[in-house]
Amino acid sequence: MPKSSLSSDQVKEMLLQVADAIIAAEPRLSEADRNLGDGDHGLGMQRGMTAGKEKLQELEAGTPIDKVFSSLGMAMMSSMGGASGAIFGSYFRAGGKALAGQEVFDSASLAGFLRAGVDGVKQRGGAKVGDKTAVDSMEPAAEKAAESTALPLPEAAAAAADAAIAGMEASKDMIAQFGRAKTLGEGCLGHPDAGAMSITVILGAMRDYIQA
């Protein structure tokens, strides 16, 4: 049954499913990075989410929502390394921080998480929309979620997930300014950014959990 809001334990359950979705998507994510980078993005995300699952499972029942998110972020940051360890770690940590004090996770929380997350990433990495990075999925998802705070959570989550996909699609036409792909120039064209693809997997899995 679609969930209109989540308890902290449900958030944890959701993030465990997010982790499984990323782990399952490893070959696709690595393949995307092979086209533009060094081919290890899926492996890094898999490593980060495997560590994240362990960390999430250790959390006591009722751990505050912000801590649930930031625990995942910390686990990713310290297990992954690489660009995406810092980027996705910051995403969940900064996004989580915005939810301090919140006892349920609803459409507004989603918007708050996505906005603070992408802002944290932009501050950390300096990339902006159009640079062919994960930001190209993060930013439209955050914008869409901000427009959708009046909608029920399942619809808001779906809208955000769709926006992330559109962002990833848009990244195909961009020339990279960050990361290993930045020296490819026009050689980038036609390939989506691997980190943006990870964001679509993450938001897709959140939507699936919320809608199920």
Partner: protein
């Protein structure tokens, strides 16, 4: 255990970074030790001196973590295969090498390394440790001279770490150490080519494609694009192409200048080819009036399965030459 099509002698392809790290600690024969999760630090450190910390992803052995030793780096923070070390590993290494005089981070210019070393530096500053950073960006073909901050760090890191390591044995302040390391970077340029793709142990798949009849000119050490593809050619044809790119860059090289000339193999190119390339390159260097103070021929900056070579030139002024001539020892580079 994932499949590994590259026929490598390993165990679990997903554990390569941890296991090569354990092997590396043993390779130091008790002169360096494991610190924390995945850092390596010399046992004997010069007291009251600024520290030199290097680091980066694994899979390019012997760099960076094989460059720890007397006259080289004090320690290294080591990431997973092709992944910069996470901030907590940077922190554990920072704490272990610090002797109250601060720590210089010296690493190659890759997004992941910059992000993680910066995060590590923030954590270290919270612990009251002063950190300075010098980023190695010797790869001429990755961006024009006007956009140096976009240039990658490649094989030139070997002479740079050697010079900074010598400085770390002699100077007393972090500022001095950083100044010399930055000078070594400013005086170093590299151009590489690739003939065969690399692979990641976890997948065994080639990380890029390269037809049998072409060479990637200016390619990075993961196969990043450079100046373009050129037809497969002879050593005598290739050497001047590489040197022309080096000479065209903004490091002024004038008759009478003394240099370190480093011919690096990406790993699957054998020493015979390095020697034949050296034979082609030296007369060109001499024709330009350059004096080779030291030649290095070795596979020190590598990439799993990858074949290819790079030329690095480090111009020595009096200060750098004095530092160069100090002995050093490490798994990756040793000099009497």
């Amino acid at each position: 255990m994932s499949k590994n099509s590259a026929k490598k002698i390993i165990n679990d392809p997903l554990k390569c970074a941890d296991e090569l790290f354990e092997g590396l600690v043993l390779a130091y024969d008790g002169k360096a030790r494991k610190v924390g999760r995945r850092s390596i630090v010399m046992n004997e450190l010069r007291p009251d001196a600024p520290a030199l910390l290097v680091g980066g992803g694994a899979g390019h052995e012997p760099i960076y973590h094989g460059l720890v030793g007397p006259g080289m780096a004090d320690g290294a923070a080591i990431g997973d295969i092709f992944a910069a070390p996470p901030p907590d590993i940077v922190l554990e290494a920072t704490e272990a090498v610090n002797r109250g005089k601060g720590v210089l981070y010296l690493y190659g210019n890759y997004a992941g390394d910059v992000l993680n070393f910066d995060l590590g530096a923030e954590l270290a500053e919270e612990e009251g440790i002063t950190v300075k950073t010098v980023i190695i960006n010797d790869d001429v073909c990755s961006a024009p001279p006007s956009e140096k901050s976009k240039r990658r760090g490649v094989a030139g890191l070997v002479p740079v770490v050697k010079l900074a390591g010598a400085a770390a044995q002699t100077v007393d302040t972090l500022e001095e150490l950083a100044r010399i390391a930055q000078k070594a970077v400013d005086h170093t340029r590299s151009v590489g080519v690739s003939t065969k793709p690399g692979s990641i142990p976890a997948t065994g798949e080639p990380t890029f494609e390269l037809a049998d009849d072409v060479i990637g000119l200016g390619m990075g050490i993961h196969g990043e694009k450079g100046v373009g593809l050129i037809p497969m050619c002879t050593a005598d044809e290739l050497a001047p192409k590489i040197l022309d790119l080096l000479f065209a860059d903004d490091l002024e090289l004038n008759a009478g200048d003394e240099i370190v000339f480093f011919v690096n193999s990406l790993g699957s190119t054998h020493m015979m080819e390095l020697l034949i390339l050296l034979r082609a390159a030296r007369p060109i260097l001499e024709a330009k009036g350059l004096k080779v103070h030291q030649t290095i021929l070795d596979n020190i900056v590598t990439c799993q399965e990858m074949a290819g070579v790079s030329f690095s030139i480090t111009k020595l002024d009096d200060e750098l030459k004095r530092l160069w001539d100090l002995p050093c020892e490490s798994v990756g580079y040793t000099k009497l």
